[in-house]
């Protein structure tokens, strides 16, 4: 494949959330950081566990686990910094990831499963990797976490 053609093939970052291997478009991934200091304070927003201070910026840590696994992700050493597109601004957040991240090129195929937060899938040496719609994955996680709070309150 020549350089001109390869630049037309989109790139994706493939990573693990818990045991599930998923991908995000390379365009929204800023960097991968290891073992940052995590700072937490009281708040009521679902999915946000803490914040990190990165190059003078406050970056919220958003766990995708509840949305795509149905439970919080295991503790992580690595965090993928991604660009969220909120209503009229963009903002960086850090996603805890497990294990290695890979940068791959490929064509996004139509999604095959039922998960609303899956935008499509990627064929990686025969393995089908779900490509996430980040905002939908966050929404799904927030809904899941909010539905767990009344259940926890009822138990206590």
């Amino acid at each position: 494949m020549n350089a001109e053609k390869s630049s037309l093939v989109p790139s994706f970052v493939v990573f693990h959330v818990g045991a599930r291997r998923v991908a995000l478009s390379r365009d929204i991934v800023a960097e991968l950081i290891a073992s940052p200091f995590l700072y937490s304070f009281p708040h009521t927003t679902p999915l946000i566990a803490s914040v990190v201070l990165r190059r003078g910026r406050i970056v919220p840590v958003l766990d995708l686990g509840p949305g795509i696994l149905g439970a919080a992700s295991p503790p992580a050493r690595f965090f993928l910094v991604v660009e969220r597109r909120l209503s009229n601004i963009s903002e960086r957040c850090a996603i805890p990831v497990q294990g290695e991240c890979e940068l791959v090129s490929g064509i996004m195929l139509p999604a095959t499963g039922q998960d609303e937060f899956v935008a499509g899938c990627l064929d990686l040496n025969g393995e089908q990797i779900d490509i996430l719609d980040l905002e939908k994955a966050i929404e799904a996680g927030a809904r899941m976490e909010e539905s767990l709070i009344p259940a926890a309150e009822a138990k206590s």
Partner: protein, 178 residues
């Protein structure tokens, strides 16, 4: 007053400074502008001046406290921030709101050099609780909004259920002084 910057530090903003008090509730530390505090008291010294609310409508407010002919709603810090019960030993009497906040302790007085906006990803009550975030001793700390401990709506609710209590407590105190 320190101006909010868009979640990032810059050399220009580093020049603005504000005196703050760092206080703790449960395992968390918070910052509040020193200018917003009228008085810092030990809870033991408030004994005789505390009056129960007739109808506590908010879990976090059950009493009023009288100080210098003024009355203040006593806000439980741990209830306000939805934290597990703690042992408050200190009360922050605020200057521009009829509010006295119970906190565990004052950690230090410090100088805040930057106030970072709370990222937009935060979308809950914290947007009312905090003016933003700051960095002190390489730690990120939330900066409490003095007007966020009791919102206008919450004040209205308490006053509707306990009409005239705040004023009558102040007047009673004033009569005692005369």
């Amino acid at each position: 007053m320190t101006q909010t910057v868009n979640s990032s530090l810059s050399r220009r903003d580093a020049r603005r400074r504000e005196q703050v008090a760092v206080f703790s509730i449960a395992e968390y530390s918070f910052v509040i502008s020193a200018a917003s505090i009228q008085e810092i008291r030990n809870t033991d010294s408030l004994g005789g001046t505390v009056v129960d609310l007739d109808r506590p409508v908010l879990r976090k407010v059950r009493h009023i406290v009288e100080r210098d002919a003024r009355s203040y709603y006593v806000v439980s810090g741990y209830e306000h921030f939805h934290l597990p019960p703690s042992r408050p030993t200190t009360v922050l009497i605020l200057r521009d709101a009829p509010v006295a906040v119970l906190v565990d302790r004052i950690e230090e007085m410090a100088e805040m050099r930057v106030l970072l906006a709370l990222p937009q990803s935060f979308r809950g009550e914290e947007r009312t609780w905090y003016r933003g975030l700051t960095v002190l001793d390489r730690k990120v700390l939330p900066v409490a909004n003095p007007l966020g401990f009791l919102t206008t709506r919450e004040l209205q609710q308490i006053e509707e259920q306990n009409p005239g209590l705040l004023e009558s407590a102040s007047m009673r105190k004033e009569r005692e002084r005369v």
